[in-house]
Symmetry: C2
DNA sequence: CTATCGATGTAATCGATGCTCACATCCTCC
DNA sequence: GGAGGATGTGAGCATCGATTACATCGATAG
């Protein structure tokens, strides 16, 4: 019997990338397909719902195939986290670019953008902040930049910049997480409510470091 | 052959609670023992390292025994989370009781206590704040109480209390999580550094809502 | 005292999942 | 057109959560 029987299993045709057609055996770009599929699976059911066999099944590939591209499950998740981190950073940068240049506007805009991202993509937010999956310590956070510039220009009060930045980072991250983890009184949070909360938080913070 | 052979398997003697001795078969208080063992296992290796078979093994009990006391693994983890939540609340309450009664002191004391708990018991902190495991929305947080009382006494600025409380909660929770998840620049955080950061954050917040 | 019954623990087993290994297939490049 | 590396397959192992039928124990009623 030949190694490849007539009708081994009905499989959906796989998208090809490198060559035109001749669709079988090799996938084309399994690595990226895995990352994309994992992204979708996580968005649906969270990180706990991610499972390599299911991913392989959806891509019409054997359960062992993913291991040709990722050493283990965690490596795949790290790739996914890197992907998410990139989009997240892009969203923040764009928000800052579109906002007026004054420090409070910048600060508020990036804060709102960060919280919005968390509200819209809670599962992705959790993954990108899961310890060990991505390093956020080098993030050149637009918030930091805006605040540093503001103090250099003498627009904000003469308190240690580090303290301000730390407080701002904590408040925005804390708000994001509390919303994402549904741990705020009143239950699930709508996008509009999230925006209002972000504005409230940035205002209170602004009271602290803007001169009056 | 008798149902219970002479030397079935060498097992460590199990602690008895109900009666004096005659140690075999029934454990005594397996439920509590499971919670305690889970607490220890989580403290060592985090929630991912928790596994029912290992727990059963350590307690000298069959892998199926835990299912007599918990419907499934999640039920056990929920019991553990409740246990942690109780200790966490007690720690916060004690810190508030020991601090001077003025609002900033109260606020700072509970903040410091919360962050300290996170630094000392990072795995437990993560578990108690894992979504779905424990409901924190009813937490009568001493911080909230302190701030409400303070505003009632006219000690803080006339800004919406809700905004202040939200900001404070976000900042303290955010700081705790950033430390626990090791996502702050500079790597791992010592208890002393954590205290300093907490004080910095509470001070910046205090600038916002304390009248000047 | 003893028969009974509910509570608790056991043994055996299933199904899902991460991962490995030997082998098959295909593409590229000399 | 042949060799070799890259990629995918199939079979299978180990671990773990969970279930089921059965065993054992302790309390209690008669």
């Amino acid at each position: 019997m030949p190694a490849r029987p007539a009708a081994p299993k009905a499989r959906p045709p796989r998208p090809r990338v490198r060559k035109k057609a001749a669709a079988t055996y090799h996938h084309g770009d399994l690595r990226q397909a895995l990352v994309d599929a994992a992204l979708a699976a996580i968005a649906e059911g969270g990180l706990e719902a991610l499972n390599l066999r299911d991913l392989a099944r959806r891509l019409g590939v054997s359960p062992a195939a993913p291991y040709r591209h990722f050493a283990d499950k965690e490596a795949l998740v790290r790739a996914v986290a890197a992907d998410i981190a990139q989009r997240y950073a892009a969203v923040l940068a764009q928000a800052a670019a579109e906002a007026p240049p004054d420090p409070l506007s910048q600060f508020r805009a990036t804060g709102v953008a960060a919280v919005r991202f968390a509200v819209r993509h809670p599962a992705h937010f959790r993954v990108v902040y899961t310890p060990g999956l991505h390093d956020h310590r080098g993030d050149d956070d637009p918030t930091r930049a805006a605040l540093t510039a503001a103090q250099a220009a003498g627009v904000i009060a003469p308190i240690p910049v580090d303290a301000i930045m730390l407080t701002a980072q904590c408040a925005i991250y804390g708000l994001s997480r509390l919303i994402v983890d549904d741990q705020l009184p009143g239950g699930a949070v709508t996008p509009a409510q999230a925006d209002a909360m972000t504005r409230a938080v940035t205002d209170v913070l602004g009271l602290g470091f803007l001169p009056r």
